[in-house]
């Protein structure tokens, strides 16, 4: 830990240089100041309708989901057809002496329900409770021959016939049982913030989340694999504590963050459905181990003057994991030595320093320096472990490895108001990453950038930005214990020398009041210049257009359209030599949406009225993968069409009847899963789950009572 702290303060003279520069500035930014004494003797505020007591609105009605479609329930809770209760509330209470409560809830009858309750006394304390459910649905078309699904011991039927390939598993069809792959998160949070004086504040937030359900995990034995329903039974608790003090021109906070992860399943054992010459009749996977993270943070700011502010945050953290090890293998025919330890005693220390100095040098010029430093010290002990590959063979012992990392970044920028209508900014960033335990010990990246923002016309603005980054990597070395070894011409992209170019432009035009158009363009190109194998380049290009038109106070339109293209080029070598294959991938996404909001009529005296709204979004994505001079993969296609419409008829000042309609269609063509039945692949027993295509409607009618 001492080593960490010392590194924070050492060797950063560049920061000192900038600090001297900005602190000599004589000019100060002109801040808005409050008016002085004002004669308020006749300020009665008799028209001020201050609210007190309970108010808000509640919604009650019924909705109906057209068809029973599993995928439609992903993130929505609409996976079952038929009627459901529409129940929601947004309640407010304002009491004496600035007391208040607020309750907000939605979708209470669905698996995506949420409730938030917050209350307290303004300026004194705040308490809050919230609850949220998130359904994540993967597939209901999965099938598995295993019994014990949901537990951590998957067994095959007694009459199971093993075979070297799936087509020989004669009892497979008779044994398949449907399984729904989904996980559900249920999160509860409570929080309190107390401000006994305007100087001090105390806060505590606690969140507990349960995640339960089934995921998919591959379990292999030698060169055969079965996709298994993985039990998910996680509990994550998080605690944030904070104490803060606000001075006249400074503040400081001390905080603690704790994360506590618990997995109710330590392992997943399964019967090997394949006949295996090594006698591996079963396999066992480790499931995520329990872990903890503790972090203390000191943060604050100091206003050197009205024009200059310094802020910083220092965090020291400790990640630990000490779950008891599983045995090397569950194959009794294999003999191994003892485990070097009963558990990992894993510990990683983290340190993060972030600091910013920003100064308005004068009315036109602002200078800014940002410094960030992240450290990861892996204190986990290393040992030699007997390695049993897939519960089948013993290729030889392996030693676990530590990964220490340092990342220091300094960014400086200046923003200058060139003319009343034009502002230019420029900056330079320097990033030094050190990975002493990996193939490239050090990379250094320098980025220069410039941006100009100009109000071309009182109603239009153009922002253009350009950036160039050059990353230099130290010599690539083989430190990986991987057997067999990597191709010596491979340089991993995240630590390779790289040239990056970025460009962004945004034009906003408001030809008339309440009519806005925007066009945005973004481009990023990465070229990896080291080595010859692996990712060689990537390019991201996007263009988008958005518009908002308020025809009148009662009628408005909005819309957007965007196109994005992501390209990658990479190489490989089947002969473990120079590149002999060249691959390209391209993801092409086109999206568009339009919406209208129309107040058809509104009677100011009876408060009767009719409002209509409609939103339509369509997004199409195509993924192309090809190897030069070889047969391309089929296109990966996905398409989302979403329509949301609402009609609200206001019967009186307090009552309105509402009709809501929601339609969504999702279609996909994905060669990775489409048509892949459990026995399609000779060497992989899959779950046969396909994509989540759906095409479904929801209609809901409800009454909203406002009071």
């Amino acid at each position: 830990m001492t080593r960490l702290n010392r590194r924070f303060l050492a060797g950063q003279p560049v920061v000192g240089l900038i600090l001297i520069g900005v602190s000599t500035s004589g000019a100060a930014a002109e801040l808005w100041t409050q008016a002085g004494e004002v004669d308020k003797s006749e300020w009665e505020c008799k028209y001020c309708l201050f609210e007190s007591g309970l108010s808000g609105d509640v919604q009650l009605g019924v909705g109906s989901v057209d068809e029973d479609q599993f995928g439609f329930g992903n993130y929505t809770g609409y996976d079952d057809d038929g009627a459901y209760l529409v129940l929601g509330a947004d309640l407010r209470y304002r009491g004496e002496e600035a007391a208040y409560w607020r309750l907000n809830s939605s979708r209470l009858a669905l698996d995506s329900r949420s409730v938030r309750l917050e209350g307290g006394r303004q300026g004194s304390y705040r308490v809050g409770v919230d609850y949220l459910e998130i359904p994540r649905l993967y597939s209901d078309r999965a099938e598995t021959p295993f019994t014990g699904v949901g537990g951590n011991d998957l067994q095959l039927p007694d009459n199971w016939v093993k075979a070297g390939t799936t087509d020989g598993m004669t009892e497979l069809d008779n044994s398949l049982r449907p399984v729904a792959l989904r996980t559900d998160r249920r999160r509860v949070g409570v929080g309190v913030e107390i401000t006994p004086t305007s100087r001090w504040s105390y806060s505590a937030d606690f969140r507990r989340e349960r995640k339960e359900g089934l995921n998919v995990i591959g379990g292999s034995v030698l060169f055969r694999s079965a996709l298994l329903p993985e039990p998910v039974d996680y509990t994550t608790e998080q605690l944030d504590l904070g104490v803060g003090y606000q001075g006249d021109h400074w503040n400081v906070q001390v905080g603690y963050y704790g994360s506590f992860f618990r997995d109710d399943n330590r392992s997943l054992r399964w019967d090997n459905p394949f006949g295996d010459p090594t006698g591996a009749n079963e396999g066992q996977l480790a499931l995520p181990p329990d872990n903890e993270f503790h972090q203390v943070t000191l943060s604050g700011r100091y206003d050197v003057s009205e024009a200059t502010r310094a802020s910083a945050r220092v965090s020291l953290g400790r990640m630990t994991q000490n779950d008891e090890f599983l045995p090397y293998t569950v194959n009794p025919s294999l003999t191994t030595g003892g485990l070097p330890r009963d558990s990992l005693e894993g510990e990683i220390r983290t340190a993060n320093l972030d600091a910013r100095l920003v100064s308005a040098w004068n009315e036109r010029l602002t200078l800014q320096a940002d410094f960030r430093h992240d450290e990861r010290d892996d204190e986990t002990p290393t040992d030699s472990f007997d390695y049993v590959s897939t519960d089948a063979i013993l290729p030889g012992a392996r030693e676990n490895r530590q990964y220490d990392r340092r990342d220091s970044r300094l960014a400086m920028q200046g923003r200058y108001q060139l003319t009343p209508k034009t502002r230019v900014s420029t900056g330079a960033d320097y990033d030094r990453k050190r990975r002493p335990d990996e193939e490239v010990e050090e990379t250094q990246e320098t980025t220069v950038w410039a941006e100009a923002a100009s109000r071309l016309h009182p109603t239009s603005q153009l922002v253009v930005g350009l950036a160039y980054a050059d990353r230099d990597a130290s010599e690539y070395r083989v430190v990986d214990a991987a057997i067999p070894e990597q191709n010596p011409l491979m340089v991993k992209f995240n630590m390779a020398s790289r040239e990056q170019e970025r460009a962004e432009a945004r034009l906003t035009v408001s030809p008339r009041e309440h009519i806005d158009f925007g066009v945005e363009f973004a481009y990023r190109d990465n070229d990896y210049t080291d080595g010859a194998i692996g990712l060689r380049s990537s390019r991201d290009t996007s263009v988008s257009f958005d518009a908002t038109v308020l025809v009148s106070r009662s009628l408005s339109f909005h819309g957007f359209a965007s196109r994005e293209v992501h390209d990658n080029e990479q190489t490989g070598s089947q002969n473990f030599s120079v590149p002999d294959w060249f691959a390209t991938t391209e993801d092409d996404i086109n999206s568009a949406g339009v919406g209208v909001s129309w107040e058809v009529f509104h009677d100011s005296f009876t408060q009767k009225g009719l409002n209509l709204s409609l939103d339509y979004v369509r997004s199409d994505a195509t993924g192309k993968i090809g190897i030069r001079n070889e047969t391309d993969f089929p296109d990966l296609e996905s398409s989302v069409t979403s329509i949301q419409a609402q009609a609200r008829y206001r019967v009186s000042e307090t009552v309105s009847t509402e009709l809501a309609y929601y339609y969504e269609r999702f279609e996909s063509d994905d060669w990775m899963v489409d048509g892949v039945e459990p026995d399609t692949l000779p060497t992989v027993l899959t779950l046969g789950s396909e994509g989540l295509d759906y095409d479904n409607h929801v209609i809901a009618a409800y009454v909203r009572y406002r009071f």
């Binding site: 028209y47 993130y75 947004d90 472990f385 995240n494 408001s510 490989g572 473990f576 692949l681």
Partner: protein, 317 residues
């Protein structure tokens, strides 16, 4: 060499900053006055039937006169909008002359400079939650507080987590498009907010993240991937975005690319990691189809986020 270049750039910026001697423009001296009756003058016109209805502010925290920090415990409407006598004194039916403006809020259409608008809000809200506002992407990008927040309403969508993404998407159009991809976080469904990961009022970390690093931010919801593991997968513990695209992807699990090419970016060992997988190999009868279909490389190497199994060195256990 690189370090020298950084020093040189720093020195250059320092010298440039010294060289700037731009005299401040003298601000025009005016002596605005406050109205004689405060909010009552404003509300005579700005009732619920006016073009700019404001009455719902009386249902919000800003209109709590017993809280001495709020506008209505100070100068009422003019706390934020500034002295308004000139604006209010003009007769309603005077069509001949344009009404003198008061300080207005918003981005497009608002005449008051964004910096001045935000200074008004920060005169009360410049607390520890706004320590890093200055110099943040939103501040330097001239985002006005009123671009995101609505004041004269009981319901400010950006403060409701389920509605907040739609506010952010008004400017972040690329992220809106990404939220409609085949694999995405549940932003557009209202089950997750942008604020789950980002601090819109500024933070000192990259992309204005809430936690110290990107991975620490991800681990808030994906704590099972935090480790430490006996067998770490090095790029995973370094940066989740080496493989994942957090705002939405055309590939499962928010992956940036489809396996096996995703894995072959870094894995080039002789044998199956180096095979040139082509469209011809997709047939179920192909001996290599098991490396492509289903979960591809993850059919066997399923513990890509790390393994704690003593025999998990190849991430198969």
């Amino acid at each position: 060499m690189r370090q020298r270049r950084a020093y040189a750039i720093a020195a250059l910026l320092f010298l440039i900053s010294i060289g700037f001697t731009v005299s401040a423009q003298e601000s025009e001296e005016t002596s605005p006055t406050y109205t004689d009756r405060g909010a009552d003058r404003c509300l005579k016109c700005h009732d619920e039937f006016s073009e700019f209805p404001v009455m719902d502010i009386f249902k919000t925290k800003h209109a709590e006169s017993s809280d001495p920090r709020t506008p209505f415990a100070k100068l009422q409407c003019e706390t934020c909008h500034g002295p308004g006598s000139e604006h209010a004194d003009m007769a309603i039916d005077d069509d001949e002359e344009e009404r003198p403006p008061i300080r207005d809020f918003g981005h497009r259409g608002a005449e008051t400079p964004v910096a001045e608008q935000n200074a008004v809000c920060l005169s009360c809200h410049d607390d520890r939650h706004r320590n890093d506002w200055r110099g943040s992407a939103h501040q330097t990008g001239q985002v006005a507080c009123a671009d995101c927040h609505r004041i004269h309403t009981t319901h400010d969508p950006v403060l409701t987590p389920s509605e907040e993404p739609q506010v952010c998407f008004q400017c972040h159009t690329r992220e809106r498009s990404e939220s409609y991809r085949a694999s995405s976080h549940p932003l557009r469904y209202g089950l997750m907010s942008c604020g789950s990961c980002h601090e819109p009022h500024g933070s000192l970390t990259e992309s204005m993240l809430r936690r110290s690093t990107l991975n620490q931010t991800c681990y808030e919801c994906h704590a099972e991937k935090r480790g430490p593991f006996l067998w770490e997968h090095a790029p995973v513990s370094e940066d989740c975005t080496h493989c994942h695209q957090p705002h939405g992807s055309n590939h499962p699990a928010l992956l940036t690319q489809r396996a096996p090419l995703l894995c072959q970016r870094c894995h080039s060992q002789a044998g199956h990691p180096s095979i040139a997988f082509t469209g011809d190999l997709l047939s179920g009868a192909s001996p290599t189809a098991g490396l492509l279909l289903g979960q591809s490389c993850m059919n066997c190497h399923s513990q890509v986020h790390g393994s704690n199994h003593p025999s998990g060195v190849n991430l198969k256990r």
